[in-house]
Symmetry: C2
């Protein structure tokens, strides 16, 4: 299966590279705004249709991860990268006859449920469940752009049958503790000094991660299922591990695509045994 | 109440002008891309933030009708008028402290339910109901832009409390038979010759209108309710009369804003008595 990864070298793209690139099932093509020495890369910006279009030729699927990745994006950043960029990616896929489209949506499409219930929702026993049928409540331009992307994907599959399958993964937080610093990095302007282990801020964020974590291997497994299953034309799944504290539903993903998460946030950042 | 109407002279804007402009409750300000001799008009394009921003000062509410109005819009037309234009209108309202925002959304945000069930759904006894909780299924870029606009409105009220209330009306078809030709006009390129009364095409479109009609006075009443009620911060209502053949729910609008539709599509285009 020939698969194009857009935004291949971002936080979640690298999880697919690490876990799926060596599988016999896949031949990956890497598209990113920046080159990367490890792989031959199509260097192109998703905001530029003509630049990305050739990379879609001959592909069986695209995993569309490119876009502005954080809730702090200004309207201009989001409009360019996540609205225009999404239509470019879908149109290129449709034009090239790519059958399957997996979209990196986000929990921030429904982020207000968290805002409204934090910090209680980060701790066991909160009793809150949000599933794919709950009303959309974006918390940012970023979140609204994910609502837009999901709707546009559904429009393409239902009105043009191109692509023929579109799955949105509402990714929660793909940040393994052993892999990178969980609370952002210098690139995104997070001051690591504020998040020293043992501080109050650290404790709350660690509690949040235990609820929101999708381990890199669980994200790769969910993406693999989205690429392989003979499922419905359109669907939405929450990208989250089987965390005791999670408030996002995974039963729908279990039923429709056979997602079988291996991790639980209770072991996220646990002290070494 | 000082109310700004954007797109004031379009098909639905004129329904508000005809039915509400003389009410003591309202002082309307008219904004449109084109001037109109009857009223003093702010001539400005919603795609241009700086051009529209001053018209929001001192207003209590905005009824945002401006945008590309049909499902045949290309991505560029929709992006400019309905995506960029929507964010401009919301940002201008927030910046100016306008409390209330009524958005002309559209049935095309969920248009695939019709596509899937036509023409049976145009005739009595179809048994189909679509309400505001059903999954979004846009049928066009136009429909997807309405999904986007609703989500962006919710984002503004929930994250900024500005505006403080946002109501989306998913307008069905505001085309009174005695007022204008029901099936479009020369401006939108519809060939009236195809729609001669008594033809098969006319009969099917007349059947559709009996299901989809929102009379001009019912649309004006619904908008008036959205401007007056002390309701929830965000909601979505179907803009449709109480048609025997309708598939869109009006119970939610009855309960939340006291919508009391006066018309039924069975009398749409009925032979004169």
């Amino acid at each position: 299966m020939d698969v194009l990864l857009t935004g291949a070298y971002g936080r979640v793209g690298t999880a697919l590279v690490d876990h799926l690139a060596d599988e016999d099932a896949y031949e990956f093509t890497y598209l990113d705004r920046e080159n990367h020495p490890e792989h031959e890369t199509v260097v192109a910006d998703v905001a530029d249709y003509d630049a990305i279009r050739p990379a879609f030729d001959g592909k069986d699927a695209v995993v569309h991860l490119a876009g502005y990745p954080e809730t702090d994006g200004t309207w201009r950043e989001i409009l360019e990268n996540n609205v225009v960029g999404m239509q470019n990616a879908l149109e290129a896929a449709a034009d090239a006859g790519v059958e399957r489209f997996v979209f990196a949506s986000s929990n921030h499409a429904v982020g207000m449920y968290e805002v409204e219930n934090a910090p209680e929702v980060y701790y066991p026993g909160h009793g809150i469940t949000v599933d794919h049928t709950d009303p959309l409540r974006p918390d940012s331009y970023y979140g609204t752009s994910k609502v837009f992307g999901e709707a546009l994907g559904r429009q393409y599959v239902e009105t043009r049958d191109a692509p023929t399958k579109f799955y949105a993964i509402r990714i929660c937080s793909v940040r393994d503790p052993e892999y990178d610093h969980p609370y952002g990095d210098a690139e995104h302007g997070v001051d690591r000094g504020d998040w020293e282990r043992g501080s109050e801020a650290y404790d709350e964020q660690a509690a949040r991660m235990k609820a929101m974590w999708q381990s890199r291997r669980d994200f790769a497994q969910m993406t693999d299922r989205c690429l392989q299953v003979d499922g419905p034309a359109f669907d939405i799944f929450y990208g989250v591990s089987d965390n005791e504290r999670r408030w996002f539903d995974v039963d729908h993903a279990r039923e429709v695509i056979g997602y079988d998460p291996q991790d639980d946030g209770e072991k996220w950042d646990a002290p070494p045994e």
